[in-house]
Every structure is written in structure tokens, then in C-alpha cells.
Amino acid sequence: YSTFPQSPKWRKEDVTYRILNYTPDMLQADVDEAIAKAFQLWSSVTPLRFTRLYSGQADIMISFASGFHGDFYSFDGPGGTLAHAYPPSSGIGGDAHFDEDENWTKFTTYSGYNLFLVAAHELGHSLGLGHSNVFGALMYPIYMATDTRDYRLPQDDIDGIQALYGPPRESPVLPTKAFPPQEPTETTPAEAPTEMLPREEPTAMTPSKTPARPEDCDPHLTFDAITTLRGEILFFKGSYVWRRSPYFSGIEHDTISSFWPSLAPGFDAAYEIDKKDRVLFFKDDQYWAVSGYNIEPGFPRPIQNLGFPTSVRKIDAAVHDQKTKKTYFFAGNKYWSFNENTQSMERGYPRKITSDFQGIGHRVDAALQNNGLFYFFHESNQYEVDIKSKKLIRTMKSNSWFNC
């Protein structure tokens, strides 16, 4: 994450906003909801509270405009720049402008830009955040069509906004009775109603919708699939992604839907062909190809397209050897070698895993190539192998990559 020079921020917890006009692309109620949800994203992880005003000067003035609109940063027509916002300060500070020449929508289709996502990003600026170079962060500068149902703020953005404002106040002890109705705030101008945005108080009673993410250093941690991606290593389990990157320290925690919203969780295998900037994901008898965020058209495809017999209904693991341009696929107690240049399975396969890989006498759950060595994961262990000699070098815990 980043902040603006000198890290400007609001010197108060109660921040006001006002929607000055609307886009004709959406119902006003949908615009109101998108903006309110975007504020809620930030209020749920900070002590900030947002009050909507309907008249007068608010801290954050929100408007739609096209081309030249009174500041030094004219908009550029459809595409390109979608919106911009100013860091906290008086006057134009905090204000957010949306390019009316875009097609705004409440959906996450490819025919328009989702107002909630763009507003959440711009309000990050209004609160003092700059851009993040973490692929998948909300404050990443490039728009990404992401599933907004149950959207969770990525960890990098939480770290950034809490560096400015700290975490939410301790959530109050669970009330034995409902809180008294919200008293109107003293800043409310008499003639206009305000809306105090309900704080999303995480309560112990709120059932988590998806099974909890296992601890990084759980000694029994196993993975569904592992792949490199643009210099990083992604570890998949259920709907969760652990991310190890040379661009930032520590392990980042994300969900598959925050990167590829249309892919169902629970991959069986994944591998990258870095020269093509392409990653392939496998689930059951289908596979997808993605480049960064974008799923390539024409996918999913049946795995039989790669040359598997119809008896193979799913694969367990896959790893691409960047040197030989061969990809090893593992299913059950067998493995195949696929020639990426000829796009065909090599002759003489499948072969038994045990006959070629000493020390790996069982199924492979996930596989990875890193610094020329291969790592085969089975349950909570991983086996480091020199692929030329196919000799086992050492055995480690599967999560040794998480600096446990």
C-alpha cells in the first residue's frame, strides 16, 4: 500500500459525505447503495464513521462529470481514466469525481464499470491511501471486474488504512438487548435527514460463511494446488490463497474470488508457463487459462483436449519445467509428460510415479518448480527433488514456505 506525501488524513473519526449528482446509467437508489457500501468497507476496519449530508459542505463531495469539470484533471471520455479523488484536506480535499462518459453499473459484467468497486477505491484516496502495487488489492490502480457479493477488503488495503487510522474501536460486548435507536448527530443541519451508516460490527455470533482459513503454521496444513505467477508463488486450499511474493515481505492472505471471481474454489492443480504469462487451473475434468486477472476466451476446456484418456476424470497436480518446456501431470499413482511446444502428451506415458521418483511412493497433491528444483506435496509434507536425476533431496513440512 502507499499513502500520499506527508500522509494526509482526517483528524477526526466522524467524516461527512454528500452525493452532489447522479449518473443516468443507474437508479439513484443503486448509486446511494453502492456509495454507502463503499464507505462501509472502510468503516468496518477503522474507527471512522461516515454521515451522509443532503445539503451544505461535506468533507467528501461525490459527483459525476465528464471532460473538463473544474479541476486540473479533465476526464478522457470512455475507458482510460474512470475516476479520481483527492486526499484529505479542506476544500476539494477528499472529493471524488466519477467520469460520466463511462457506463456505470451495479453489476460486475464486462459491459460497464461496477460503481461500488470504483467508489471503494476512490474513497480509499479520499481517506488518504495512494495506490498499491499488490496485484489484487483494492487500491491497485487498474480496474478489475471482481465479484462484489460478500466482497472482503484485501489484507494490503486493511494494513494501509489501519496504518493511518488504526483498527476499529473494540466491538462492544454483545448487547443483551438491542442498542437504543441512533440519536440524530449534533452535526445534522436541522432541515436535512442524515444517515448514520450502520457499522458492520463483527460479532462472535456472526456465522462465518466459509470455513475458516487454516493457520499458516498449522503442522497439518495441506494444499489443493500450487503455482508460480509473475514471480510470486500462490498456494491454494478451498477458497483461500496464500501468497508469497518477492515484492513484499510476509505471506498475504486472499481468496480465489478476489482474483478470479468467476472461478469456483477448490482447484485440483495449477501451473504457470511464464514465457506466455499464462497460468492453467484444473478442476475436475476441466481446465482454464488465465493471464493475470483475465480468463482467456474459450475456456473451460475438457482435460481430454490435452490427451488424457477418458478414464482420467481429474488430475491431482501439475508442474511445468520452464527449462525443458515439458509439463508433468500427476493423477493417482501415475504421471504424464506433456510437450508444451507440440501441445501433445509424450510417448511412453503414463508411467508409475514410484518407478521414476524415488522416495515419493504415493499420490501427489500439488507440485511446484522453484529455482530449478521441484517440490512435490503430499498431505502435510513436501519432497524436494532434482528433476534431472529424479533424486529425492529432502523432505519438509508443506508450509515451510511460510517462514514457520
Binding site: Y73, F75, T81, H84, A85, E122, H125, P141, I142, Y247
Partner: protein, 80 residues
């Protein structure tokens, strides 16, 4: 010298505008030393490629231009 195609000219203009908007690139309009501007621009291209995790070459290759053409926020990535 090979003729610079119209398309390449357009791409170059687009990239200049992008780098001015988001990477604080300032072209010295009346600079006598064309090469100085090109070096300065290559340095800004490297900054942008590094930000987006692309291969840092300083060249306006296809991937770099594609990334520049993605819809995005109007706030600079790098500020002076």
C-alpha cells in the same frame, strides 16, 4: 533509419501522456537533446513496469502498452 509507423507514433504519444499523468514524466519540449528525453522516458517506463510486476526493460513492448491501456484510476502511481 526505419520509418516509424503511424501506429508506433500513436503508441509513443499515448505512452508519453500516460507517463505524464501517472509517473510524473516531464518531457522537455524544447530540449535539443532528443536522446535525453528518450532516456528519461525509458527510465519512467522502467518505473511503470516495475510497479506492475512486468519485465523491466524500459522498452514500450506490447505487454507494457496493454497494461497502459487498461481502465484505471486517474490518480498518479508515483508522485513527486
Amino acid at each position: 533509419f526505419p520509418m516509424v509507423s503511424e501506429k508506433e507514433k500513436e503508441d509513443m504519444q499515448f505512452a508519453k501522456k500516460y507517463l505524464e499523468n501517472f509517473y510524473d514524466f516531464k518531457e522537455e519540449k524544447n530540449s535539443l537533446f532528443k536522446s535525453k528525453n528518450l532516456n528519461h522516458m525509458a527510465e519512467k517506463v522502467r518505473e511503470m513496469q516495475s510497479f506492475f510486476g512486468l519485465e523491466v526493460t524500459g522498452e514500450l513492448n506490447r505487454k507494457t502498452l496493454d497494461m497502459m491501456k487498461q481502465p484505471r484510476c486517474g490518480i498518479p502511481d508515483i508522485r513527486a
